[in-house]
């Protein structure tokens, strides 16, 4: 019985040693990994701040104003003025969908009045 115990404990020590060896290298590898990741985060943060600065530079009011002037043909952008405020009732909403597939004759007519009444009800 005793020799078996000796052999078993010896094997257990070997196994634990192997496990500790692997863990050691795994830990070192993850630490290296973390260091690399942190370097990468640092670089990315740096480039993020540069991107942010560039975004602010490209969106500076002077440039936007010049761009609006250059592209006036297409965009027709003007400074915002008090007259551009409106009320909701001034907006032309898309008309309510027409009811189709009415089986009876003169369905167009019916749906037209229906649509009209529906439109009148919506404020």
């Amino acid at each position: 019985m005793r020799p078996v115990l000796y052999v078993l404990s010896f094997l257990a020590v070997m196994a634990l040693g192997f496990w500790a060896y692997r863990e050691n290298y795994a830990t070192q590898a993850s630490l290296r990994d973390v260091t690399n990741l942190q370097n990468e985060i640092g670089t990315l943060r740096e480039s993020l701040s540069i991107e942010r600065a560039e975004w602010a530079y490209l969106n500076r009011p002077d440039r936007l104003r010049d761009l609006a002037t250059l592209n006036f043909d297409r965009l027709e952008l003007l400074p915002m003025l008090p007259s551009q405020f409106g009320v909701t009732s001034q907006i032309t909403f898309p008309p309510a969908p027409l009811i189709t597939n009415l089986p009876i004759e003169g369905g167009e007519m019916v749906s037209g009045t229906l649509a009209a009444t529906k439109e009148a009800q919506t404020p």
């Binding site: 630490l31 260091t35 942190q38 740096e46 540069i50 600065a53 500076r60 009011p61 002077d62 405020f85």
Partner: protein, 595 residues
């Protein structure tokens, strides 16, 4: 516990029968009792000692174990903890109230030379002079070979320049990383931001220090490593600031002015939404401080804060409001306004020798801007009360705004306050203040009479201030200012939908030696909008304007500062999210009467 008696009767009787001394029984019992007591107290003392020993053992084990781990472990930074943003940013960003960047940092490089490593100094000097045209080849070469071992060539390089220097390929040329302050919006809000430069410089880094404006004022906050990750949030709104600067710049050109300033302030919080001064400069390339001439000739001069001017008739509303507050007058009271008025050896005139008198209501005095009427009101108030009121409005002290220049721009006022000063101060002569002082005072009236503390930082909590005018009087004052726009001197200032109220002011500039210039004026328009529920104060000041479209140059605020202010309101109010309001038409000929 049953207490055994010291002299049990049975044993005593027994002992007496046997002829023994009963006292020995008592002594015996006493001894036994004392032994029990001693055993008990010894037991509890032992328990205390054991607990104490355990505590000491625990403490010493802990300290010993900690010492052991510290001694046995390698001294390294905890690598698994994640790095925060505070590591990479040296100086906090400055952003506007919506988080858009006003100032940020950029990584770049500085160029320096280790002369003993230079292989061919002559060629390096020649090629550097080609890359940087402002460097002189001969001077550079002389510095390379005069025996020094180290010299700075450029403080910051663009990536293209850095590549070209790399291509020279000399081992003596070296780069040091630099964190550079960048103002991506160029000249926008230049006078607020101020500027920055390098402080102590080393090869691997250089400190960035603020040199003017907010950068200098908040230098400690911006450099604080604990707060480097959180940007400094200002009260400015980039969009509004850009619109104000745009209009002010155009106004300065159109009115042939030397310069100008515009301040837009929230009356309820004291936050400055836009602060513009012209001419302006680029804080990325801040010009050197002027060493000669007038400080106001330099674009660095912030007219809105540093420009201490006599602000003229804009002060009249203070006298009128105070007189109503004191119960001396109502807006309808008729006051003597017969011009010219003589006071001792002084003669007080109206503009262009008008006479609005003999009697004028207080409201009309403000609308027509009558000096004589205001003088009479001021005499009713008296010097002491007038001084106290102007002081409460903050017109006697340098503005507490977060700009380093503000402390140096203390309003000028006479040391003594004789009655003639009371009179002239009422219409803004003989007392000077900056446009910012004026905007603060107007905001204090417009918000219903609560003293405003101006700020350039976004407020997170409501403003606290003492009451200096009752709400009723403040409303009346705004109403009188509204009449200035609808039927008085500022008729060009009406912006439909925004009910502008305001007061014009024209003051001649003072000469260096004393006296006034005839043709150099400061025009100011201090306005409040909308009049029925004031939200913002706008002060526009133009320095030496003249409006030349007519037959002779016009230099009154009504012709110069007022149209500029109206245009600013027209542009800025929609950006501030204010919807134009339909004003109730005045009912012609209908007057409220009482039966």
């Amino acid at each position: 516990m049953t207490r055994t008696p010291l002299r049990p009767l049975a044993r005593i009787l027994h002992a007496r029968q046997r002829g023994e001394n009963p006292d020995s029984i008592e002594r015996e019992n006493l001894r036994l009792r004392h032994e029990v007591m001693r055993d008990k107290s010894r037991g509890s003392a032992q328990v205390r000692l054991v607990i104490l020993a355990l505590c000491f053992f625990g403490a010493f084990t802990l300290i010993g174990a900690r010492m052991g781990t510290i001694a046995a472990s390698e001294p390294i930074e905890p690598r698994t903890a994640s790095a925060g943003t505070e590591i990479d940013a040296g100086r906090a960003d400055i952003v506007d109230r919506n988080g858009r960047i006003l100032a940020t940092n950029m990584l770049t490089h500085a160029l320096y030379v280790q002369t003993r490593d230079l292989i061919d100094p002559a060629r390096v000097a020649r090629e550097l002079a080609v890359i940087f045209p402002d460097l002189d080849e001969k001077a550079l070469l002389r510095r390379f070979i005069d025996g020094r071992s180290f010299l700075w060539v450029r403080k910051v390089l663009s990536p293209e320049q850095m590549q070209m220097v790399h291509e020279i390929g000399d081992p003596g040329l070296l780069f040091g990383p630099r964190e550079m302050r960048l103002y991506p919006n160029g000249t926008l809000a230049a006078h607020v931001l101020g500027g920055s430069s390098f402080g102590a410089e080393g090869v691997n880094s250089a400190e960035v220090i603020g040199t003017a404006g907010l950068e200098r004022f908040a230098d400690a906050r911006l450099r604080d490593p604990a707060q480097a990750g959180t940007p400094l949030v200002t009260s400015l709104d980039i969009t509004v600031q850009a619109a104000v600067e745009d209009v002010l710049g155009a106004g300065i050109t159109m009115m042939n002015a030397k310069g100008g300033a515009a301040i837009l302030m929230d009356v309820n919080t004291g936050e400055i939404v836009a602060l513009a001064a012209g001419p302006t400069f680029d804080p990325n390339d801040r010009p050197a401080n002027p060493t000669s001439g007038e400080p106001s000739d330099s674009p660095l001069f912030n007219r809105a804060v540093q420009g201490v001017y006599e602000l003229g008739s804009t002060f009249k509303i203070f006298a009128a409001a105070q007189a109503i507050e004191l119960g001396l007058l109502t807006p309808e009271t008729l006051v003597d306004a017969n011009a010219p008025m003589y006071f001792g050896k002084f003669k007080i005139n109206e503009f262009e020798g008008h006479n609005y008198g003999p009697l004028l209501s207080v409201s009309d005095i403000i609308a027509k801007s009558s000096n004589v009427g205001t003088a009479h009101i001021a005499m009713m108030i008296g010097g002491e009360r007038q001084q106290a009121f102007l002081k409460a409005l903050g017109l006697f002290d340098a503005s507490p705004v977060e700009l380093v220049e503000a402390k140096g721009a203390k309003p000028l006022r006479p040391a003594r306050w004789p009655e003639i000063v009371t009179i002239t101060a009422a219409y803004g002569h003989g007392i000077s203040g900056s446009p910012l002082n004026l905007a603060t005072a107007y905001a204090s009236i417009a918000n219903g009479g609560i003293k405003v503390t101006p700020t350039l930082l976004k407020r997170t909590e409501p403003m606290q201030g003492e009451r200096i005018l009752s709400k009723r009087v403040a409303l009346l004052a705004v109403g009188m200012m509204r009449r200035v726009v609808t039927e008085g001197t500022a008729s060009l200032g009406d912006v439909p939908g925004y009910a502008v109220a305001g007061k014009t002011g024209t003051a001649e500039k003072t000469k260096r030696g004393g006296g006034y210039y005839d043709d150099k004026v400061i025009n100011t328009f201090a306005s409040v909008f909308p009049a029925n529920d004031p939200k913002y104060v706008l002060v526009v000041t133009l320095d030496e304007p003249s409006e030349n479209t007519g037959s002779k140059p016009r230099r009154t605020a009504g012709w110069t500062a007022v149209p500029v202010a109206a245009e600013i309101i027209r542009r800025a109010a929609p950006l501030l999210g204010m919807r134009p309001q339909v004003e109730a038409a005045s009912l012609d000929g209908l007057v409220a009467v009482k039966n």
